[in-house]
Symmetry: C2
Subunit: 244 residues, 2 copies
DNA sequence: CGGGGGTTTGAGTCCGTTCAAAATACGTGG
DNA sequence: CCACGTATTTTGAACGGACTCAAACCCCCG
C-alpha cells in the first residue's frame, strides 16, 4: 500500500561519519566501532509536510535523528484533545523518551516541513548504550532538559494568559525562524498553522485568532498566513516584562 | 545556626547493603564495589514535616533517596506562583533530574511527613555512572516516566475540569494512602494540605474548597482535615468514566 | 468554478479567578 | 489544659478569560 509513495527511502550514501549534526548531538560520544554500528543500523527517510514519522501508540523500534526539517510531537488524549508537546529541529533526536520508557510511542511525530530523518535501530542502540556510558549520559541530559521544559509549560499554562504565552512562543520561535531583516523589523516564517499555535499553547484556534487580532490592534505583531512581522522587538518584550 | 536543630544526622549505621528499597530502585544495578562506594558516599538525614531537603536554585550536589516519608517537589515562577510538580515516596529518588540537567535545582523538595532521606554524593554517582551503563539506563527509564507524567499533566490541565482532575488525583493517591477499610468505605490519610491539593492541580485553594464541597454534596467523597472518605469507589470512577 | 479545510468573527455561557471577610484549625506559651 | 495569635480554610459576590457553538469568510487546489 501507501508506504512506498508516502515516504522516500534514501540510499545509505549519507554517512554518520560525515554528518554535520553528529558532533552537536548525543552521538558525539561515539567513536570508531560504535559510530560504524550507528552508520550501518540507520535508515534515512524523506518526509513531506503532514506525513507521520511515527504514530501515537505504535511500538517503538528505535529512535529518530532529524537531519533536516521541523518535526512536531503531538499527543492526543481519550476525548480527542490534541496538544503539540514540542517542536524538534535539524540535529535533534526524537522518540528517545518513548524508547527508554519502553511502552511504545506516547505521541506522534509529524513533519511540518520537508524533512529528512534517520531511524536508528533499537537493538543497535541498546548495544551501544550497554558499553558506552557517555552515550547514556548524553540522553540523560537531554531528557532532563525536556522534563524541565515540560514542567515550565505546566507552570506557565496555569499562571499566564494565552496572550502572554503566545508572545513567549514567538520569542522562542524567533531564535530559529527569524528571516534576514533589512530594517529593524523581524520577520518569522513559521512552519505552523493556527491550529498548531493553538495546540502548542494548549488552547483553541478561535482563541488564537482573537489573540492575534489583539496583538495586531496593539501593533505588537502582524500575522499574514504563516508569516509574522514584529516591527519592534521591545514592544514584544514589554508584554512579558513582568514575567521574566 | 539552625542546621543542627532543623535536621537530624543519622550515624552511618544504616547500610545500603541491607536497604529494603534498593532492589526496587535504580540502585538494583549496583554490585560489590559500586554498592560499597554508594554506601560510603551517602549521608542520611531525618526531616520533619515542612523542612526542605533542598531549595529551588540551590546548586545540585548529588541526588536523594527517600528511605521513609513523602516528599513534595515544588516549583515557583518569577511572579511567585507555585505548583507542586510531583510527590515522591519511600524507595524513590529525587533530584536526579536536576543532577543530570546540571543547572542547579529547578525546584524545591519539602518533606510532607517525617522523612528519612539519603544524600548520595554527586562525585561518587558520576563515578558509578561512568563504568556502569545499566545504572544510567535505570535513570533514563525513570526520567522517561517522569516526562510522560509531565506531558500527561499538561494535557489534562488544558482539557479537564478541576473536579475531574481532583477525582483523578484521589484515585492516584488511593494507591498509596488508602487505610485498611472495614466496610466498603475507602479512607485516605493524606499528607497534603488544601493548598497542596491546589498546587498539585495548578489551581487555587478557593477552587479546591468549592470543588470539595461539590463532591460532598454529591456524596462522592467527604473530606475532614486531611482524611478523605470514599463511600463508593464506583461513584468516583463514574466521574472520570468518559475520560479513560 | 466549485468544493473543502482552515480561519475568523460573533454571541452567549461557564468555569475558575480575584478580592474580601468570616470561620475554623493549629501551635505556643502561660 | 486553656487562651490567644496566627495560618489555613471556607464562603460570598463579582468579574473575566477562555470555551462552545454557529455562521461567515477565505484561500488553496483540484
Amino acid at each position: 500500500m501507501a508506504k512506498a509513495d508516502r515516504v522516500t527511502r534514501i540510499p545509505p550514501n549519507l554517512s554518520c561519519f560525515t554528518c554535520q549534526s553528529r558532533e552537536r548531538s548525543e552521538w558525539c560520544a561515539l567513536r570508531n566501532d560504535d559510530l560504524d554500528l550507528l552508520n550501518r543500523s540507520k535508515i534515512t527517510v524523506n518526509y513531506r509536510p503532514g506525513q507521520n514519522v511515527y504514530g501515537q501508540g505504535n511500538p517503538c523500534s528505535g529512535i529518530y535523528c532529524i537531519e533536516e526539517g521541523t518535526i512536531a510531537i503531538r499527543r492526543v488524549d481519550a476525548q480527542g484533545n490534541s496538544i503539540l508537546i514540542r517542536l524538534a529541529h535539524a540535529g535533534q533526536t526524537v522518540g528517545y523518551r518513548d524508547f527508554f520508557g519502553g511502552e511504545g510511542h506516547t505521541g506522534s511525530a509529524e513533519a511540518l516541513s520537508p524533512a529528512r530523518v534517520c531511524h536508528v535501530d533499537g537493538q543497535a542502540l541498546r548495544q551501544m548504550l550497554s558499553h558506552n556510558p557517555a552515550l547514556g549520559l548524553n540522553f540523560l541530559t537531554h531528557l532532563a532538559e525536556d522534563l524541565d521544559n515540560a514542567e515550565e509549560s505546566i507552570l506557565q499554562n496555569s499562571a499566564l494568559s494565552v496572550r502572554t504565552r503566545l508572545v513567549h512562543l514567538l520569542l522562542t520561535l524567533k531564535d530559529r525562524f527569524a528571516d534576514a531583516t533589512d530594517d529593524g523589523t523581524i520577520v518569522l516564517s513559521l512552519p505552523l498553522a493556527r491550529q498548531d499555535l493553538a495546540a502548542l499553547l494548549g488552547t483553541r484556534p478561535e482563541t488564537i485568532a482573537r489573540t492575534i487580532h489583539a496583538l495586531e490592534t496593539d501593533s505588537v505583531a502582524t500575522f499574514s498566513g504563516r508569516t509574522v512581522r514584529i516591527p519592534d522587538l521591545d514592544m514584544l518584550l514589554n508584554e512579558i516584562e513582568p514575567y521574566i
